[in-house]
């Protein structure tokens, strides 16, 4: 089955919409639209990105799959009913700096971890 599905797409790819592989997509965060602009001074918006797409066989190395994801993907490709495919998730995140007003109306600079997706992968 794995072998068939490995090449199935190329031959049968015409009718079926080829599903997007796991990758990083834009996600524009606007704190004003979130209603947070009464305490966040800057930035009022930033590019956070998000991960989207399928983790299907064969997994590309840049998706940095865990061994578990490799096994899960292989089993899913052999028998989709046995297990779902592995998940497309952030594999590297970076912080952003935020200047905001705290409960005492003081101005605070804080570095918030894990606010921007740098890379996506299958886990």
């Amino acid at each position: 089955t794995a072998f068939a599905s490995r090449h199935g797409k190329r031959h049968g790819g015409g009718g079926k919409k080829s599903r997007l592989r796991c990758s990083k997509k834009p996600l524009h965060v606007n704190f004003k639209e979130l209603g947070w602009d009464d305490w966040i001074i800057a930035p009022l918006e930033y590019e956070a990105y998000h991960c989207e797409g399928v983790c299907d066989f064969p997994l590309r190395s840049h998706l940095e799959p865990t061994n578990h994801a490799i096994i899960q993907t292989l089993m899913n490709s052999m028998d989709p009913g046995s297990t779902p495919p592995s998940c497309c998730v952030p594999t590297k995140l970076t912080p952003i700096s935020i200047l905001y007003i705290d409960a005492g109306n003081n101005v605070v600079y804080k570095q918030y971890e894990d606010m921007v997706v740098e890379s996506c992968g299958c886990r």
Binding site: I41, A42, P43, E45, N106, Y109
Partner: protein, 322 residues
Amino acid sequence: FQQASISSSSSSSAELDTTKDVRNRKEGKMSRAPRESSAGRTPRERPEPRLRPEQEPQSQEREPPGRAPRVVPHEYMLSIYRTYSIAEKLGINASFFPSSKSANTITSFVDRGLDDLSHTPLRRQKYLFDVSTLSDNEELVGAELRLYRRAPSAPWGPPARPLRVQLHPCLSPLLLDAKTLSPHGATRAGWEVFDVWRGLRHQPRKQLCLELRAGAWGEPDAAAGDAEARAGAPQQPPPAPPDLRSLGFGRRLRPPQERALLVVFTRSQRKNLFAEMREQPDSVEAAGDPSPGAAQGSPWPSPSGAPDIGPWLPSPGRRRRR
């Protein structure tokens, strides 16, 4: 290597825009085309907030009803934000900067004290700060008091004698820091920065009171001293310390950007900083308060797009400790 710090200029929003450009350019998204006027921008590319420098940092500009009053940040905090956020986008960890003292949180408090003019000459000044919002579960890694000294209108003492000013906790002999002001250097206005970390470390995190005292005159400058000796002038006893206002420390009619600022550097061990706000001891949602009034709904915007108030968000119009 290029110094990543940014001079604190008033065109803050332009630099904030630069921050965004740096990120986009790094992503390869930004064309080098000149920036079109904001009118031509699609809503998604709204420029960074226009921080109006003439606003009072502590004065609560009247916001439309239902909105918490807006505090305008001190120029120093804006320059900290600009420096570290651009460094972040360049992949430089902000904690590498000595000035950040490896902190990931920098909180600024504006002085609430006033000069006690019943005493003239004014040889002591009390600076008062409400530091009750400092979280106890964050590690204090540094604290400094920034005093803006105006250029004195007239020379304040014997031309050749430097003057020491000292900083103590109020009603305490503990010397936190001292500065020697040389008569020559004092002709220019500028910021005097005192290290007050020791004063905050043992202090219960409520009100912090610091006292600036005009200390003793230093020894006359070597050259000038010899000139005095050669002139055969008898050694005059040093005059009494001057009035702090003649040194440029007077606080009357100060614009907000020149008011004294306490800057506290802390490091939070917790990775997820937003959760920290949710778990503030007195935020009702975190306590699972059963009363219907406390239920603020889910923290995520409701399908209608109007965001419910999350556990860490101030409800519109009412400021809540987060």
